[in-house]
Amino acid sequence: MGVRIAEEWLHSCSGCEIAILNIGEPLIDLLARIDFVHIPVLMDHKYYGQLGGDSSLEIPEAEVGIVSGGVANEEHLEVLEAMRASCKILIALGTCATHGGLPALMNEWGMEKGIEDYYKTATTEKCSVPDQVVPKPLDRVYAVDEKVKIDLMLPGCPPNPALIAEVVVSLLEGRDPVIPGKSVCHTCPTRREGKGSVKSVRRFVQNAQYDPDKPLDEMRCLLEQGVMCMGPVTAAGCAAGRGAPSCISARVPCRGCFGPVRPDGNQMLDMMNALASNGIDWKTVVDRRSLLRFSGAHGLLRPLPATTTTKE
């Protein structure tokens, strides 16, 4: 018998589960030491018994629980609470679970208004919002730690397979996992020349300046090139096992997908501060609230009546 693991996905896209598979061949070795007892993407364990006749939702007991996705409806909440009750250690996997992730952009409107408008697109027949059998939405998108106690947070959109493996192996070995604690910039090889003449940041409508035949360490820092890049305010982790931040490898700027450097940080305010302290006019950032695009849970993104009015 290996260590029993239960896995669930809530308000999510399955990217976290694909990241688990992207551990690749080492995963086959890990499988000899762990037993998945519940993981809907791969395995047929059912909530209400295998014949679908039970009246209450059941998740098998496990030493380790992994949950991806935020919490946005009553079913997510019920599953999350069952996971907490059944698992000794509960891990929040991916930025949706740790900070709401992209779907928490909906918090600018709230779930009810957002869903209402979803059923009004041009090709949709005139209808009322589905309300039979389907779970009721909550008021907004929550990170999982707003609803239950979480023992370990592993953000990322997607999370880095090397770090997922590190967490699982560390649990098997009974030690603390080694997870990067600094910012994306600390893992970025691009060349920094110090404060320059940049007074504003531009939208990414032209590519960065670089020689494609030369390595990343010969490309100048994108922020110093005047490109809005969220490396300074984003948790490191994407570079683990690959040598450079993933977006920088594609020569595009960071957008913050690992969430804030300090788990309770505010990527929008932190970024405004970072820009201001470098003499850059933060008002040149278009759609500043979308700097919270990965971390809008915990009440950070909220409907603002004034903003909503100007948008309509």
């Binding site: 996905w9 990217g15 809907p40 993407v41 791969l42 047929d44 679908g52 949709t124 759609d287």
Partner: protein
């Protein structure tokens, strides 16, 4: 009042859904539903965003096919800003899209669907999964894990991220392809083609041959189809125009930017998923098994049905064999798996074809882009079906309105019908067991929702 069998969650699919089978007092199926249980609403929350940022937001619609959303979105943004990607930018996008199809098909066939066939629909649930295959057929499993990983990592090395990509940009691509990168990708794609041909052969001899009756009957319904072809009628997955085919084989071709004149979306009170149907057939919407109205299917089987031919040799040979055996259009729901493997072969061949063209190395990868007001409609064939993104921007180039029809959505009505067909034919007089309920799910899994 009879009882309800609650298959929840549907497993080995991407997403949140349940099946409810309603039995009458005698234990026979009165009705059956596939309920889509979750809704995120990307159409809404991209409002206000700078359009050029949207391709790296909507990729999160699906962690299995993020490239498809990323690229359909980039095309839509190109349209809003009135820009045409440079030839190299266009080609780099296409090669990434086609390579992403390779992984997806390996994942779906071997990791999600195969346990039902390799271990059997009646195997215990605790082993009827990819981990069970690792234990039961370690050599096959090792090969499959290695090939999927090769497919994912080649994309990641070239484009920075395989999951939730960022390298496609309005006007083209963020970086050119170096000669070394090209040579490495080419070698990987050749290895994957070899594997694809092996997988096709393995499936025909060791999988499909064993389940001929199940393939012909399980979840079988009669519908129309939707896919993408080029001017010569050849299968296309990155660009081209849409083709509707009715069950009788007659076709209607239309440009992707006129999708809203041909497709409408019905809504039911019991599922969050919208149910698209062919408005242009002027017959309304009905999921009646004996007399469906407006119902068409998308995804692999649909594409294989609507195309006249496939422009790569191995896939074309497979298409001919498939048509000889099953006719055109083929209707068997489990034939989605067979069609999926034909597309796996095509995706490998097409990737090689693109990588062998030297102009893919051109460094002029991005056209000049200026944010402005406009409307753009972008479409690609995602693994799960025709994917459409439709955006409108304001004078700052920020999104004011968006509509999307996502691949899986096209199949929501057909999946409901297949579930009902499977449940009705399998469950009689209140007699059912885990194997029968899993077979009902197999009808859903074929669509790879």
């Amino acid at each position: 009042m009879g009882k309800v069998i609650n298959i929840q969650p549907i497993t080995r699919i991407e997403g949140h859904a349940r099946i409810a089978i309603h039995l009458d007092d005698a234990g026979n199926v009165e009705d059956a539903f596939l309920h889509v249980m979750s809704l995120r609403g990307f159409e809404k929350f991209i409002e206000g965003r700078p359009a050029e940022e949207v391709p790296r937001i909507v990729n999160r619609i699906c962690g299995i096919c993020p490239w498809m959303h990323h690229l359909a979105s980039n095309k839509a943004v190109d349209g809003c800003f009135g820009v045409t990607p440079t030839p190299a930018g266009h080609k780099l996008r296409e090669v990434c899209q086609v390579m992403a199809h390779i992984n997806d098909k390996i994942l779906h066939f071997f990791f999600l669907a195969a346990p039902d066939f390799v271990l059997g629909p009646d195997a215990d649930y605790s082993v009827r999964n990819v981990i069970g295959i690792v234990k039961e057929a370690p050599e096959l499993a090792g090969q499959v894990v290695k090939m999927r990983q090769l497919g994912q990592m080649m994309l990641e090395r070239f484009a920075g991220k395989a999951i939730h990509p960022i390298a496609g940009v309005a006007g083209g691509f963020a970086k050119p392809m170096t000669r070394e990168e090209r040579d490495e990708l080419l070698a990987s794609c050749k290895t994957l083609l070899e594997f694809a041909l092996y997988a096709m052969d393995y499936a025909k001899t060791s999988v499909f041959a064993k389940y001929e009756e199940t393939i012909a009957t399980l979840g079988a319904i009669t519908t129309g189809f939707l896919g993408t072809v080029d001017g010569s009628g050849a299968l296309r997955i990155y660009d081209g125009h849409f083709r509707f085919m009715k069950a009788d084989g007659t076709t209607t071709d239309f440009p992707v930017d006129q999708y809203d004149q041909y497709i409408s979306e019905h809504v039911e009170s019991w599922t969050y998923g919208k149910l698209p149907y062919a408005k242009c057939w002027n017959e309304g919407f009905s999921m009646d098994l004996d007399d469906p109205h407006g119902i068409y299917r998308a995804n692999t089987l649909a594409r294989i049905n609507v195309c006249d031919h496939i422009a790569t040799p191995h896939a074309q040979a497979e298409l001919e064999e498939f048509r000889d055996k099953f006719g055109r259009p083929a209707q068997g729901t489990l034939l989605y798996h067979w069609a999926r493997l034909i597309e796996l072969v095509y995706a490998c061949e097409r990737s090689i074809e693109l990588l062998e063209q030297d102009d893919i190395l051109d460094t002029d990868v991005r056209a000049r882009v200026e944010p402005k007001a406009g409307r753009g409609i972008g479409a690609v064939e995602a693994p799960r079906g025709s994917l459409i993104h439709d955006y409108t921007t304001d004078e700052n180039g920020c999104i004011v309105k968006a509509n999307m029809i996502v691949g899986t959505t096209h199949n929501i009505a057909p999946m409901n019908m297949s579930v009902k067909q499977a449940a009705t034919s399998l469950i009689k007089d209140g007699v059912y067991d885990e194997t029968l309920l899993n077979k009902v799910e197999m009808a859903v899994r074929a669509y790879d929702p």
